[in-house]
Symmetry: D2
Subunit: 345 residues, 4 copies
């Protein structure tokens, strides 16, 4: 291994070898632009099948913040905002992309990165009972991440409850699946792609962090839900001229259900790392079962560790300790874990 162990994130490598091969094989062929090519057509079909939705609209975009901004703007009316955990990616780390399109992010408290259906329902009840509600931003959708920023998972009964809440208040449910492959590969997870298609007004299947070179696939189970989405995407500067690049990647990701398995090495690696950390007496945080591991580390130890390995700063724990995040990916190897273990001595 010619690089030091690097668990800073899950978007630090290129693409799954099958994808790279297909990009190479098709490189000099010509195809039409803007997602009208045959590869994109095939990828859409495979995703529809995997989601159990023959008529779903599937659109390919380039990155997560972009996909969130476009889909949220497409689903909301101008006077509506989006409910999100105060730790949600759209709340904190998208530089105000949602607001730049005119929509308020209505933040609610989280537990381990998750919104509680009770909290959301209470908020919506209060809003729709508030005499002054017409002077306030109307909640128009619930934004969830699966898994969350903290690596935790929503379970099927929770998502069903959110769906019922959305139906009760006539608002949309949207799931950010930037790391969806790591949820799907996690033994604890009980939410399938078909469930997401049944329960959400829209969601996206993350590629960038899940084996693609880049790209995300937005799925709108009922295609009538968002008219003129193509133009909306174009208007946001989010339409890739060589759309086939995205089509090819998702066609490979959904060939023989690769996407359902691609996260497995990451989960296995993360489980090993969690076991190792516990053995080394580190305190784990947030109880994440997916590819993100959070632990407390003493600052002086962290300094030394940082010289030997890559990690992400998460937050200050106290004067002498820090919470760091380690993320594994679809190509994680035992070799890397061993090197990490050594770096943590």
């Amino acid at each position: 291994m010619d690089q030091r162990p690097d668990f800073a994130s899950d978007y630090t490598r290129g693409a799954h070898p099958d994808i790279l091969k297909r990009l190479t094989d098709t490189n000099m062929l010509k195809s039409s632009g803007y997602g009208t090519d045959e590869y994109s057509g095939s990828a859409r079909e495979r995703i529809r099948k995997a989601c159990g939705r023959e008529n779903a609209r599937v659109e390919f975009l380039t990155g997560g913040t972009q996909t969130n901004a476009v889909m949220i703007d497409a689903l909301l009316r101008s006077y509506q905002g989006v409910i999100a955990a105060e730790t949600g990616h759209i709340s904190v780390h998208e530089a105000g992309a949602v607001e730049s399109n005119g929509h308020k992010v209505l933040t609610l408290p989280h537990h381990n990165g998750k919104l509680s259906p009770d909290t959301v329902e209470k908020y919506l009840e209060d809003f729709f009972n508030d005499e002054n509600r017409e002077h306030m931003v109307m909640p128009g959708m619930i934004y969830l991440s699966q898994p969350t920023e903290f690596g935790t998972l929503y379970y099927l009964d929770e998502l069903k409850r959110f769906r019922r809440i959305c139906d009760r208040f006539n608002i949309s449910l949207y799931v950010d699946g930037a790391r969806l492959a790591y949820a799907l590969a996690c033994p604890e997870n009980d939410v399938t792609l078909k469930d997401l298609a049944d329960l959400c007004d829209a969601f996206y299947i993350g590629g960038t962090k899940c084996g693609a070179m880049f790209g995300e696939a937005a799925v709108i189970p009922d295609p009538h839900k968002i008219p003129h989405l193509f133009t909306i995407i174009k208007q946001h500067g989010a339409l890739l001229a060589k759309g086939r690049l995205l089509g090819i990647q998702f066609d490979e990701l959904f060939k023989d259900d690769l996407y359902l398995r691609i996260g497995e090495p990451a989960i296995r690696a993360a489980d090993k790392i969690r076991k190792m950390l516990r053995e080394k007496k580190y305190t784990l945080c947030y109880d994440s079962p997916t590819n993100q591991i959070f632990c407390v580390i003493e600052n002086e130890k962290l300094r030394k560790f940082g010289e030997k390995a890559g990690y992400s700063f998460w937050e200050k724990y106290d004067e002498n300790h820090t919470v760091i995040r380690l993320a594994t990916d679809w190509a994680a190897t035992d070799e890397e874990i061993n090197a990490l273990s050594e770096a943590l001595e």
Copy 2:
């Protein structure tokens, strides 16, 4: 050749082989995100050198509409609009991306896709003499394309004149270089990258249509001109997580000045096609010297041609004739031209 001749556009193929090789070679290596990687660093250095600007800010983006929207929004204040030819890409074919960020496109008449400095100066004089100007959108920049939508070129003396106009009225000059490689490779062109860096407040070096798999490089010669550009890019959903993909591509494009030569096959092919069309007695339009060829074709003939080859509809010429566009690219071959010639019999 396993495909029919296709001259519909210049973004129909994948990437230059050198780029594909480098993407392959680096695929399993890990690097940091958001353009902080070493490849992006090296690419920036090479672009700065090619532009003769050691301190220029260089940012990589994913596509042309996105780059225009971000840079125009970054350069303008909320009360300003952008002057463009009525045929400019931002005026017509970007789905209102500029307006979606709150800025009016102030369109002026064109000649062969070009704005005339006289027209622009007259417009600005009239605006700044208009007693009602404070009730109007203030022009804040001039948008040009090099080459234009019609394949025509701005010459150095014209760009210098636009610069003087911008200085006179204290507004910005921005050049959209989606097809810049085809200008640089064109014998008629007298505008270098260094000239653009000397004259523009910002411009972009097109990758998507010029040999990259995808991506554009925005250059801001004076880095103080746009503070907080990174955040602006992020807010527009335009920041690629795996920024190294763009870095690697532009590092290759600017290795040994490849970008300056990469358009040559396209220009040679376009010249041959123009010669062939003249010999076949077709009427050429707009006098384009670059990789786009426009010609008038009788409708019945077009129907047959369309069965054998790819082209772009440009506009109706009269009841019985159509203007079509043929575009060559960096990988154009004599084989393709011969097949085109046959298809046009």
Copy 3:
């Protein structure tokens, strides 16, 4: 008369005496805010009756640019633009208010300030036949002014034709009635409030220029057309806390059909001025039959005239002549006209 004759505009005086009296009479009474007061309720009822629409939604706003911006934003989806004459108020003199809400103004040529139904229908046919239309701003409404910026009128058959065009392409029809009272009082006019309510998706009844102290009344004949309009108005900063001020004014304007008659003095005065100008051998422009008069005046003469009277500069006619605008209002007097006549000697 203690002021020089001033025909610069029709918003240079305060309010009709009945309005001022009512504002005075109610001044120290308390009433609820945001248009929930009884005066606003009564005004809405009177306007609904005058429009022959029992269920119409009526909202009061403060000014014309504001009303246009709010209503256009409320009627359009994010990917849509508004068709307007290139001379339309929203196209030129609203500082990009429509674009600041993300919508492109799609300008078409005018004749005497009017859009031709043929021109608009051709434009829409071309748009919906354009293969690239999904890359373009989708036209979502037609914006007309009654009377136009040039004082000209749309006739009933023209408006009916626009309605059919809107129905054919499933877009909205909106009429800016900033000076509507002057149309309604004009003998040449054949369009009633009921016609507007029958034909438009929304229109506004101008108060500011038509006898109110300030304010405009937006009418949405089918109240389901724009859900959550109250919140949209609030979000635009256009909701007046003391909504009763607007309610009181429009309650007076529609008491005993005052609004239908209030423009009559202005039309009579304008006709007299036109006659006088013709007698003095001035060239009239645009053939306006309403309260705006446009004429050509020699520059040196204009300089002297400007010392004695108020007028608006309209545009340069040639090196030695200027087009000026004179506007009469609801309180125009013979005394003023005589003073104007003297100033024009």
Copy 4:
């Protein structure tokens, strides 16, 4: 008195008699539009004098939400947000007006409606030390209300501290003075107009709630701070055609320093009501010394009270109690207070 006691708000009456008289006296006179009239000029001069700032820019707007939206948009760059108390008017009750212009409201906890300088400074330190800050909305200003939504006051030493914080982080300080007259008339207050002009980048002097018929006066002590403010106001649909209406009102409000005294009857009345409530054993909340009074009332008692008097619901206190708000205004009378006292028996 022909109305029941109504303490629902401070914008329920018309205008101070001096203002109404002046509007009446000037009603039939003509003056130029958009704030270029002599009344506006005089009002600006008087406000500049009262603020001790000869060069200050003063612009008149129509309402509070509008003024906040315009000024915040004018002071911030596209990538910046505004820090506000979570209870701030812009955070909750302006229907997302700030976000509709693309800016995030960065909410922080409050105490009795006030932001603590310590909290704000800590937040800013954390932000500017955050490695990910370029992915986040950059704080660009601090928004305060004087008095706050809870009727509390910022003291001079607090405002000076906020100014130092703003200087340290190079951001703007903006004060919403919707009820400023009630602060200025409050014995506890130690912040003058001159202090605000010394310490703020911009603030507004509220008219609507403070004796004007309607209107607010935005003051920018350093006029270079916001170039092209006129066009920004116009673009927001916030420019009143008959600007003189605002000029006349503020000219009266600042004649003989009326504005400094106009809130006194409200404060005297509020003090009496507070005394009365204490005597009646009601629990007062938030310790407001200005014209807003908050108290806890048992629900059944509230039902009966609501039949006899006007109040505002503030929030649920517990299952059996409610917090209500009573607001006095510039024209409050002992008669009203007596009627209120009876209604509260």
